[in-house]
């Protein structure tokens, strides 16, 4: 095959190119190839593209089953935001409130409100903190490259939940 081509190409090519009658060369036009930088693809962000294609938000929250992984993940964000809310209220309250905060706390102690209400309030303060604390450790572990298999993610998730609930209850009952 290769020999055939090698032998053939010299003679056949010459024949076809130079022969006036078959005359391939007469058909040839001079063509200049000019190198140009490729056109940059049209800029379109991830969101823009998906909106244009009519795609729903990913994950499609109304049809996507809740899983431990996603639920713990979003609650870390939620507890972080709750804690930030408490902190912001405290910081602003310190400036805005007419009396010092400890005055209000003394009033509260004197008011002798029901312990259920107090325990509930303490739990609302403590649980976001304990959850965010223990799950924060989990996040930091991941950032170091630890416990990243799905099995470990689930195992640490359950351990974290127990620790968070347990320590919140312990704090409330102090």
């Amino acid at each position: 095959m290769a020999t055939f081509f090698r032998l053939g190409s010299r003679q056949v090519l010459n024949h076809f190119l130079r022969n006036e009658k078959v005359g391939m060369l007469s058909l040839v036009r001079p063509v200049t190839l000019k190198a140009q930088p490729a056109c940059p693809p049209k800029e379109m962000g991830h969101d823009e593209r998906n909106m244009k294609l009519g795609r729903p938000q990913s994950p499609h929250l109304t049809i996507y089953a809740p899983q431990l992984t996603s639920m713990l993940s979003i609650s870390h964000r939620a507890t972080g935001m709750i804690l930030a809310g408490y902190t912001i209220m405290w910081g602003l309250g310190a400036v805005v409130l007419p009396d010092s905060i400890s005055c209000y706390l003394e009033d509260l102690a004197a008011a002798n409100v029901s312990s259920i209400l107090l325990c509930g309030t303490k739990f609302m303060l403590a649980f976001p903190m304990t959850y965010h604390f223990w799950n924060g450790i989990r996040h930091l572990m991941w950032d170091m490259g630890l416990f990243l298999t799905l099995k470990e993610v689930y195992a640490t998730g359950y351990v974290m939940l127990i620790l968070a609930l347990g320590s919140a209850i312990a704090l409330v009952s102090m």
Partner: protein, 193 residues
């Protein structure tokens, strides 16, 4: 060609300069799929490096350097700081409550505000995207966050300086017992939290 070698070196320097605290950034930067649609230097880049003309190798090291990010700036240097800050909170929160102290209170105030500022910044960037809420609102949300964070930090330090301090106040609140239990609230010092 000159540009190509500069870029190649730049990416090497960048990779080498990745600050490693006690954290290894776990292969965040290296395996990025180069997205040409985000690259503003695309045209210049190709024109000047005649080596690569038309040959676009997605995983080449050279191509990582001119990557444009949606967020401003290079986050790889802030990242370990954020993580170190989280670790410091892990110590500061229990410490400031267990043994209230002026310095601990103020360290906690600074660390907590810095931490939640960056945290909420991530939240705002995730949800208040320009394509969803418009450019103005997206900018305004971030601007507002700066105001809120700064005011909160000021308020907390004011509180630590002029009033009881964070740790002591938490203890004072925790010492309040309700009407169900017949425990008096006078033993505020002996409570653990």
């Amino acid at each position: 060609m000159a540009l190509a070698s500069i870029l190649r070196n730049a990416s090497r320097v960048q990779a080498g300069a990745l600050p490693r605290f006690f954290f290894k950034p776990a292969s965040v930067a290296v395996n990025r799929n180069f997205s040409s649609s985000l690259c503003p230097n695309y045209a210049t880049f190709n024109k000047n490096s005649n080596l690569n003309l038309g040959l676009f190798v997605p995983h080449s090291k050279i191509l990582i350097a001119p990557q444009a990010r949606m967020m401003s700036g290079d986050h790889s240097r802030l990242w370990p700081i954020e993580k170190a800050l989280s670790v410091s909170l892990l110590v500061l929160v229990p410490a400031a409550i267990a043994s209230p102290h002026f310095i601990l209170d103020n360290l906690l105030a600074v660390a907590a505000v810095a931490h939640f500022h960056w945290g909420l910044e991530a939240v705002v960037i995730d949800y208040a995207r320009p394509i969803v809420v418009g450019n103005v609102l997206a900018k305004l949300a971030l601007f507002l966050l700066y105001i809120i964070s700064a005011t909160t930090l000021g308020g907390l330090i004011y509180y630590n300086v002029n009033e009881d301090g964070i740790g002591q106040t938490i203890r004072q609140f925790w010492a309040i017992k309700g009407s169900g239990k017949e425990k008096t609230a006078d033993s505020s010092g002996s409570e653990k939290k």
